[in-house]
Symmetry: C2
Subunit: 146 residues, 2 copies
């Protein structure tokens, strides 16, 4: 059984997330998704719009996802002890160093591969920031139009 | 095999949608979801923020959903001819008249039940409008806070 681990904030679900999760799942048998804690997301990127428990329940409901859990608050690599993945799937824009992940896994007695998933570019709906921007523009259109 | 049909706009997916779809699925074996066309949603409610093809792909990716298809543009009851459901599941706030659905089905030679799904109220994230409002407020917080 090949277990894949993918991580992310998954703030407002969009087709880019689906692409990432589907492609990740194809790498093996079981996809475990780590949904970043609000506190961690805020430190690494920005405060999520949607709180962690809601983000977790939405990700859990997606077909490619076998299990979704909230991340840890401390050392981001400690989740490897729990999940023990065979493969770590990274999104095209996730700023993780592949070598560092492999090293941190080795320290924990885990041998894994890191696979970078291609960008999904078939849509303008491939980023939470873009969606927010678009929603705001549309709302302006709608309030002036009706 | 009991086929359930549920319909909606599913503009920005939230836990209220998941609740509706999970409860609908529990009514039988196969859940077919009709995702409203942009043009129809605009007439009945408001113009969706997310275009129909993206809404369709997101709904299709949810675990309770066996099949999702775009609605028809004309008579909203004509979809019954295609889906031939045993049960039509209605959201707690969907403004359909149960008797009218049963009548329109009968005209088409279809006998069905209509079941009203309970409200999901365990979260503030149970409506697209609310989410948009909340996103705008949060964005203001974030831009002033950092």
């Amino acid at each position: 059984m090949v277990r894949i681990m993918a991580t992310g904030v998954f703030d407002i679900l969009h087709p880019g997330h689906l692409h990432f999760l589907r492609e990740s799942k194809k790498l093996g048998d079981e996809l475990v998704v780590i949904v970043a804690r609000d506190s961690v997301a805020e430190k690494m990127k920005r405060k999520p719009f949607i709180p962690e428990n809601i983000r977790l329940s939405m990700v859990s409901a997606l077909k490619p996802v076998d299990m979704a859990i909230l991340g840890l608050e401390g050392n981001i690599y400690d989740i490897l002890n729990l999940v023990k993945p065979d493969i770590v799937a990274l999104g095209y824009d996730q700023e993780f160093d592949e070598t560092k992940i492999i090293e941190e896994a080795k320290k924990r007695g885990i041998t894994l591969k890191v696979v970078r998933i291609s960008k999904y570019s078939d849509s303008e709906f491939n980023g939470t920031r873009k969606i927010i921007k678009m929603l705001k523009e549309k709302e302006i259109d709608q309030s002036s139009g009706h």
